[in-house]
Amino acid sequence: MIDVKDLHKSFDNNEVLRGITEHIYPGEKVVVIGPSGSGKSTFLRCLNMLETPTSGEITFKGVSMTDPATDINKMRQRMGMVFQHFNLFNNLNILDNMTLAPIQLKLRTKKEAEEEAMELLGRVNLQDKAQAYPSQLSGGQKQRIAIVRSLAMHPEVMLFDEPTSALDPEMVGEVLDVMRRLADDGMTMVLVTHEMGFAREVGSRILFMDEGKITEQGTPRELFGNPRNPRTQDFLSKVL
């Protein structure tokens, strides 16, 4: 579904990604773990071209993302993204947050978009917040809304960039619940996280990144139960 070939990314003279080749298959729940600074988030952000790779190629369902001739906006409509800091639009209420893109991109009429937004809000039990502004909500509520805002675009894959890292511990559960249901519904997911319990439970494949490379990967059982790479062993011994 997403094909990554020899991906490199440098910021000035700092090489963050040092050659990543990977394939993400439909329906997979790929969890990327690793120490901070290992390039996990940069890798994820390259997948929908929020970061422009220095070299290498990314293809999504046969269309090159890295080709400058590709209409990147069209491609991004098919890939949802959830950020660490939620990034709800502060100047818009929740309903407008959810309907802005579908209406502006003329995918749905205002009425359709609003009906769907209300239905999605119902799924995360936040229908009563439709008229609220982001500043009135808790972190957990904001992140649940950020997830359904992405879903309103009917994405084919969802990218999660440390979605629970900025949350108070008591709110992590409610966000993970939403993600778990999404996984159960068969959504293809790529997730960068420090929630090892969740990675083990929901992930179909775990990638361990270190210094800009994927140094080890496997099923949760393999990777958490029997890590072979000393760096992975060291990392897991610290976080588990």
């Binding site: 422009t52 950020f83 502060n90």
Partner: protein, 235 residues
């Protein structure tokens, strides 16, 4: 006491001198208003150019945009780096030495001057909006322009407004400099009357009070607009 009374009478009433102040206020407001409008137009243009240039994708370089960006940079540097009074003298006595339309030159000079400051205010306002807002909009598939229009700019305006209000207040007070090219604004009116009557206290303190009242009025108006805009961050 009688002396003061006579001074007041000479300064304001004799020969209907109060009319000169009123006309002066008119000129002062006119110059400030036109200059502000021109300043905002110029400022928006420069801010757009500079923001577009800085937000180009890595590796992409548009040569035309690069050139216009350089010009915009030089413009802000020169304008912010030289005294306003000197700019006024150069405009009137060097660049537009053929015209006697001092009010027009004053409007243009103040507009160009204000534009440089407004550009930086707007650019700062846009940059102060969290990068994540633009990224979230782009990640949903919106292109740059609608993302700016519906998400970034509305938030930037809220940050820009207080600084823009300060700029307007500074502009209004700075217009008193137009006396050096002979424009008959409020300050010039006081100077003329002082020259004629040898009364200094009432004309100068009088116009100081007028400026103060005008500034307070503008500040109050800005306050009202700000409160309206704050509606979306109810907590």
């Amino acid at each position: 006491m009688d002396k003061l009374k006579a001074g007041f009478h000479q300064s304001f009433i004799e020969g209907d001198r109060w009319l000169m102040y009123v006309k002066g206020i008119g000129v002062t407001l006119e110059v400030a208003a036109v200059a502000l409008l021109l300043g905002i137009v110029l400022g928006v243009l420069v801010a757009v150019v500079r923001t577009l240039h800085d937000q180009q994708r890595q590796g992409v370089h548009n040569p035309v945009l690069g050139l216009v960006n350089q010009i915009a940079k030089i413009y802000t540097t020169v304008i912010r780096g030289t005294p306003l009074m000197v700019q006024l003298l150069i405009m009137y006595f060097v660049i537009f030495s053929n015209t006697r339309n001092a009010v027009g030159v004053a409007m243009l000079t103040f507009g160009i001057n204000s534009g440089a400051y407004v550009a930086e205010i707007i650019r700062g306002g846009i940059m102060s909006v969290d990068k994540g807002q633009m990224e979230a909009a782009r990640s949903l598939g919106l292109s740059y322009t609608p993302a700016m229009r519906f998400v970034v700019i509305p938030q930037a305006i809220k940050n820009i407004l207080p600084a823009l209000g300060n700029e307007l207040i500074a502009l209004l007070k700075d217009t008193s400099l137009v006396t050096v090219i002979g424009v008959r604004d409020l300050t010039k009116a006081a100077q003329l009357i002082q020259g004629k009557t040898y009364q200094a206290l009432f004309p100068f303190v009088g116009i100081a009070i007028v400026y103060l009242l005008l500034v307070m009025l503008i500040a109050a108006l800005i306050g009202i607009v700000e409160r309206r805009l704050a509606a979306s961050d109810r907590r």
